[in-house]
Symmetry: C2
Subunit: 637 residues, 2 copies
Amino acid sequence: MSDSQDAGRSVTLGLMCGGNGKVEDAQVALDDAIEAGYSFMVTQLVRYPRAGGKGSGASSSRSSSGGVVSAAVPEGLTHSDLVLRDLQNANCFVGIIGDWLDLAYSGAQVGGEDVKHSAAELKRELEWAIYLGLPAVLLNSLPDSASALAHLAMLTVDSFHTIQLQFRNLWVRLSVDSNEDLRKFATFLTLAAPVSSFVGVLLELTPELPDAGMLARWRGEPVRGVLVPTSLFVKNKAGYPVLLRAHQAFVKSMIEIGAQIIVQTTDGTPASEAAAYAEYVEHLASTMEPSPVGGYEDELQAPLQPLQDNLESTTYETFERDAPKYKLYRKAVRRALADLPDNLSVPGQEPKAPYVVMVLGGGRGPLVAASLAAAVEAGRAIKVYCVEKNPSALLTLQMRAEAEWGGLVEVIGSDMRAWQPTELADIIVSELLGSFGDNELSPECLDGAQRLLKPGGISIPASYTSYAAPISAHKLHTELQRTTSSSPSVEINMQTPYVVYFSNVHVLDAPLPVFTFDHPNADIAAGGMADNTRFTSLSFTLPHDATIHGFAGYFDCVLYKDVVMSINPESHTPDMYSWFPIYFPILEPIHGKAGEPVELHIWRKTTTSKVWYEWAFTSPVPTRVHNPKGTSSHIGL
Amino acid sequence: MSDSQDAGRSVTLGLMCGGNGKVEDAQVALDDAIEAGYSFMVTQLVRYPRAGGKGSGASSSRSSSGGVVSAAVPEGLTHSDLVLRDLQNANCFVGIIGDWLDLAYSGAQVGGEDVKHSAAELKRELEWAIYLGLPAVLLNSLPDSASALAHLAMLTVDSFHTIQLQFRNLWVRLSVDSNEDLRKFATFLTLAAPVSSFVGVLLELTPELPDAGMLARWRGEPVRGVLVPTSLFVKNKAGYPVLLRAHQAFVKSMIEIGAQIIVQTTDGTPASEAAAYAEYVEHLASTMEPSPVGGYEDELQAPLQPLQDNLESTTYETFERDAPKYKLYRKAVRRALADLPDNLSVPGQEPKAPYVVMVLGGGRGPLVAASLAAAVEAGRAIKVYCVEKNPSALLTLQMRAEAEWGGLVEVIGSDMRAWQPTELADIIVSELLGSFGDNELSPECLDGAQRLLKPGGISIPASYTSYAAPISAHKLHTELQRTTSSSPSVEINMQTPYVVYFSNVHVLDAPLPVFTFDHPNADIAAGGMADNTRFTSLSFTLPHDATIHGFAGYFDCVLYKDVVMSINPESHTPDMYSWFPIYFPILEPIHGKAGEPVELHIWRKTTTSKVWYEWAFTSPVPTRVHNPKGTSSHIGL
């Protein structure tokens, strides 16, 4: 089956033996697992109960002062306690720690011995895992009591603050159908906020999967691994183990967000048998669509600033390859031209004037080509002016004008807001939209160019509308907590929108329209000034308890009449990839409960030199107004 | 009545004429008000409806694009619109702005014209107030809709970010009995977080005051002024206006937290009549207890670090004047000595050995004096060793030993943890407690000194317990947002405890015990090691909707048997002032609803070189674990 691995997605496979990852000899077990097609194992770090009963929760000797005297703390690990010892392949093991915690926490008294005992023990196991150099450790459950959960979070912060960078992965095992697990995990992530980017989920599948809504919630969580018990497999006609359709679909969706798959065998399953599960999961991954963005899922990018910066040729090239987009433009221009009276010159009659089409922001010419093709299709004569400010792109345009476009196209090197034309346009065509519609200053540019259009002339696009929806996106949010030389402070990062291909993101409600801009602008047409400031308030409803990390932005756009393009997920133009969504973060995640309203307020503000957004939530919990006065992020005019 | 102003509290009086502060001629009105005993006036800034009906909410001309064209925005203020013009005494006016907002906001559509119109108008009025140099402006109400509230907050942030420092006070008028007003205000403060320290409350009294619980809530809010309508006054027998007892008590409590009192007359009240109200309020203030801390209410101080730093003489002097404290110490030593067998030497019999009393951390000697007095009272012979590490304090001790204490006291210049005595103590006496009990390292010091005590010997204090309670304290929290050279970052400020005399603070539930330490330590007595780390979880209940800004810390202490001293408000030792409470902040305020549990988790952690606390809430909303590893604050050993 290895030949099929080139297609589809790749997946990393892990093996966990038995209910709690018990193995007799870790080295032998790993060799068998690798032989069976797995890359790593999830095993116990320490054997429980430990020799001498030290692993049991309560320590017997309590001091009268309420503290624990050192003698009462279980002694350090001994060699016979260890499952994982010094290994050559330590990087192939995820070690289960604190497997005795259930016991300890269930008896935990507030401020009592049990919690303290657990702390000492957990720390000892973590230290051993660090010493071994394991890539991650796994906690099999989160405690139920707030007290124990807080204490566990404190220990996590404590440990992860000091230890080496290579060891910074704590996996927590949660059940796919447990609302309660998710609630505890959200609390845990908040408590452990300074190190929460190192905390991930090992998601255990259940025979009966929960409803689609519950499954969707996991998309926003940092799922590092999916635990698939072999009991969930059924035999197909050929006798090979396969998953039922619902499990298949969910496993695929988790592979899509980068989760590893860990097969959990029952005690005593021979390694040879385990191979069949590995083959199946690899086959499943191979049948998936490859990543449309070549692994750039969830990468945060600053939006383009096309007015301030000149684009590079490769950037143009990438966008020009988006065939569905230019097909829509060609259709829009064709329909607009077709709505104008026939102007083809008839031999022997007086020649009619061609319609003037101005392409504003021509780039390397795709809209010129689309317009010329549209004119042929519509049976109309046109003359094209192509306005472009980027001197490098101009060179390409001039070459194409001479080589491809005969005398039909005049190339103008100018900012569209400054150019003085000799005649006015019947149609202006532009592609100035950003992921949030107006966020690359299309309104300001087209308002400035409106004087190029004849009264009653047509703008393609005719209008565009931005959309927003609250999202749960732990991964994106924690990514912004890392400051680098190019991101000077967390405060600024968290008040800046980013273009990002969503993968490990859960959109919490259907997107709602935010701001609409129409072209030509009626106020300008009436001799007034355009006001491109906006303010709107949106109201969503939480389908379930959720942590909100900000909101997603999209747009749709009427090019001409019913010719529409959209990146709103509810109506996305098929196969159009020029725009990814935009992510507006908030400084601190907020928590809401199922059914609670989410009130989001967004401003678009302008000065003569810049445009920016401000945003705030007032429900389920109020946040501050983000990016006041554009101090963290703006687009330069 | 002016002679009585030297006693009690001082109060600043303002006057507001009529329901909405309307005056015909501001200069004349101010002269009259000052004549009547007031220091400032609250008046309209602008006359409404403005000339030409510009003050009405909706603008009539809407643009087709959904924006507002400039022509539709009401024109700038004209001279005839102004109530407050260029004045010599601009600093004596609080200007009411946006008095038309009720109208505008009630008709506000999401994203609609009304809100935009209001923005332009509000900005114009703010600019005028800035130009005049008014010390504050007043908004007569907060809008009901989340949309309008968010917009108002955005405008507030916008305006206060740019304008001069001297003008940074926005008062919002709220009704004393309105839960809804408080809720809106909490949301507003969060939205406007970056400038929230400039936002205050003008609290309007109602004829029927709400219950004590509701009144108490205002203690935690930034109440800058209390508005007292003259209709609330009744005539006393002599014909003078007075307030009823409930109003009196509440007005006093607000004067205590520094609020100004604004008397609101009905339209047409002559200035001469207004004087009687001013006199009454001044009289009321004069009957109050003077500030016990001379105006240092709500001042945040870093806790003492007596082990790291040597105290100054004036610090000792301040503490030594606390008579109730040393009376309790004298009583405790007397009772402890009285419980020991009589050892007075009888003439003719063999002389008995005196009891050895060691004063650990003698300072300038108050505990030595208390112990000597106690011995006389108890009829016991003692010898005192006074151990002190501060070389300057030692000089004082040596002088007193020679001049006052005969041969009964031996002064030892040493750290109590290092001193090697020639004999052991029957009683050790110390005063090493901080506001949170163990936070000045009493446990570590006394554990280190325990070897000085005979087996079965007595420690005074015998035990102490810290207490905590969640608080609402907007003023303290915003104070920590200001970074100065000595407070390097907001992150550090918010993870550091501060000693502070609470005034503008509302304690949300009865304090609960946190950590207890007993001396002598039984573990050490048994030959083991002391463990002074602690962890506890506390559960409170919110009596009403509240914003939580952290928690208050207190302690009580058993000196000996039933001799107890306490700064827990529930059992505070009368007139003892050596300790103010301690305030543990949290990074972001959290909001909870009436009846919700408040779960607070506190750790005391130690290394060989330092001691620190960590803390977190898990309910009503989880917070991060604060001060992990003592990175923001610790006490050096």
